[in-house]
Amino acid sequence: MSTTDQSVDLESFRQEVRAFLETAPTPEILEAGRKTTSVFAPFKETMAWQKILNDKGWVAPSWPQEYGGTGWNIQQRYIFTQECNRRGVPPLLPQNIQMVGPAVLGFGTDEQKAEYLPKMLSGEDFWCQGYSEPGAGSDLASLKCRAESDGDDYILNGSKTWTTYGHHANKMFALVRTSTEGKPQQGITFLLLDMGLPGMEVRPIIGLDGEPEQCEVFFTDVRVPKRNRIGEENQGWTVAKYVLEFERGGSTFGTFLVPAMEQLHAVCDTPDASGNRLSDDPILSYKLAELDIDIRAVEHNEKRVNANLKHGENPGPMASLLKIMGTEVMQRFSELQLEVAGLAGLPLQNDALVVGSNVAPIGEESALLAMPYYLNTRAASIYAGSNEVQRSLLAKAALGA
């Protein structure tokens, strides 16, 4: 039986969202949407958009209503993301709402909730994630960054890496090692801290596209009050797992891919000066058609999981499947987009990609993103549990072993 909440008129909901999106984003916000070359949109304008959404009360659809959630069912949430992507607003940075928020919601004290949640929603705070370490990527249990107890404080030593937008953040949530006893995933604690504490150093890492998106963060005797701890000491693994499962089933690759593919088709269907269209090329049309099918499958996979999920249920192996398919189809899309751009994909144009720079792109505007997007999208099969890890998880679940 489908669990679609039949009492909600999804079509009028869609119209309401669409009406709001028509007028709410500023031109800068829309430009940031157009110039998003990875899953992480340009910082400043995206945070401005977050503020607008917060004022509307639509910033955290997945949160409980009492803390600022919208009360939408999962189909409504999918529609909302669909419409956002159709309109081309930048996707919100996931750190506040999807990563640290659920930890505080699930394990924070009332004081912590009162202190942190409102500014997470408004974007007044921007949180970065301190999970990975050099030597501990997909294997979080082996992390080493130490937090030693010293009265009411912890003293942090070690380093974190792949801290997305660490150079923009004023807050960090981190997993730190408070004990080396027992299994490796025991002895990990979930901590909140301010960026820029004495002894912290942030080093941006230049990515393949020439831009810093990730950072390394070094800790030398950094003092963090124990009241910043979320959950019990040595229970950080439990908190982190809760966060991971909080958003499961909320896979929305399809909402991005469907309008993106429509744009790519539009580019291919536009005649050039001599009246030729790229889509007249039979090989390219063939590849576009194959990708159309893959994108359709991603979309319906996501909708199917949403439709068949009972409230609060975890999609289980389907979560791995959605991640693998979504990211790999996204990569395939990025390849084809680059092929379509052709020679126009070659110039490095980081200046023109800055929102508000008014630097004209070399070649067509549509080709400007092709290369950085292609390069950055290689990360999609690496982050959030590499696709190798996801395939192992999927197989084990499917085999019931």
Binding site: A289, I293, E388
Partner: protein, 371 residues
């Protein structure tokens, strides 16, 4: 938006699952595929009694008039058990095309006996040069002294050896598509019967000046649109068969991986095989999602597109799944003695009939260009 069977559909589907479980162990199936005419009249009657053949037809003919989801449920269970009874060609293709026509007399005459299981008919639409496109045909029909004269050749007519009547597609002098009822024993019909790779029975049919009365024409106008639509809806039924089949093949293969030992451990412990199994799982879910997605568009302008996508994916993911199931079984997968090969062969045949992946992709390109 339907993404699973309704409880009513599930209930009907479960009754079929029971039927299949009771009758279709692999050894019986293997025997049935080889011997006689490739299906059991006794099973056919039981299916009639279960109501299967009444599903798509209007109540006025004694049918149940139920939506496509029911027929899909049946096909899914048939796929799971590799059932040989020719429900797909007789009901999903020929039966539904008959019902789509406007020849009330023929419908009144034939549909009740179809429902009752007394009549088997087969759709002769594919030709050597049609390569999947049902509107490309060299078969012609012309009026001659009150009669219609058919000439041409049809290939891979599934269920033809079991049917007493054929529905033959042909173009008239104006280029309109006609569908004509021809008795299997009519003068001028030559049938080359054979067993197909998937264990079914089919014929290549030749029509040399075969004469039928004007009343044997199923459509008064051009049948092209109906023919395409009925075939596309049948592809949805085939999609459901593929899903059932792949689910079972995944179960069989998963079981084998956990049982079979090599180098001292169950081969399920090998990461490369785990990842292969994950990719097979994905292949299966892709088809399942495209199937439900296509069902949602029945009756809309998008239906042809989503049916083509579904069929194209069967030609890719279905073929992949079959190949890999054999590979993971190793040598034993290459024999007729294990069911895995039979599943693989049915998946192989699915891409060959009613337009393979490339035809469906070329259709998608055309649909987009026309939009």
């Amino acid at each position: 938006m339907q993404y699973q069977y309704t409880s009513e559909q599930s209930e009907f589907k479960d009754s079929l699952r029971k039927f299949v479980q009771d009758h279709y162990d692999y050894e019986s199936r293997r025997h049935l595929a080889k011997e006689g005419n490739g299906y059991k009249a006794e099973y056919w009657q039981q299916l009639a009694e279960l109501g299967v053949f009444g599903l798509p037809f209007a109540e006025e003919f004694g049918g149940l008039e139920l939506d496509l989801g029911y027929l899909m449920g049946v096909a899914e269970e048939f796929g799971r058990g590799l059932v040989l009874e020719p429900m797909f060609p007789v009901l999903a293709l020929a039966g539904r095309l008959l019902a789509a026509g406007d020849n009330a007399e023929l419908k009144n005459e034939l549909i009740p006996s179809l429902i009752g299981g007394e009549l088997l008919i087969a759709l002769a639409s594919e030709e050597k040069a049609s390569r999947g496109n049902p509107l490309i045909m060299a078969t012609s029909v012309k009026a001659e002294g009150g009669e219609l004269v058919i000439n041409g050749e049809k290939h891979a007519v599934y269920a033809a050896p079991q049917a007493s009547q054929y529905l033959v597609t042909a173009k008239d002098e104006s280029g309109a598509v006609k569908v004509l009822l021809v008795a299997a024993d009519a003068a001028g019909v030559t049938a080359t019967e054979y067993q197909t790779v998937d264990g079914a029975r089919a014929s290549n049919l030749r029509f040399d000046n075969v004469k039928v009365p004007a009343s044997a024409s199923l459509f008064s106008g051009d049948a092209a649109a109906s023919l395409e639509l009925v075939i596309d809806e049948a592809l949805l039924v085939m999609g459901a068969e593929a899903v059932g089949l792949m689910d079972q093949l995944m179960a069989i293969t998963g079981e084998y991986l956990q049982t079979r030992k090599q180098f001292g451990m169950p081969i399920a412990a090998f990461q490369a095989l785990q990842h292969r199994y994950a990719d097979m799982y994905i292949a299966c879910e892709k088809i399942r999602s495209l199937m439900w997605g296509a069902l949602q568009t029945v009756g809309t302008a998008e239906f042809a597109e989503s049916a083509a996508m579904l069929k194209a994916e069967i030609g890719k993911s279905g073929r992949y799944l079959g190949q890999q199931a054999v590979q993971l079984h190793g040598g034993i997968g290459m024999t007729d003695e294990l069911s895995v090969g039979a599943y693989f062969k049915r998946l192989t045949a699915m891409d060959l009939i009613l337009g393979g992946r490339d035809y469906q992709l070329s259709r998608l390109i055309k649909i987009r260009k026309a939009a």
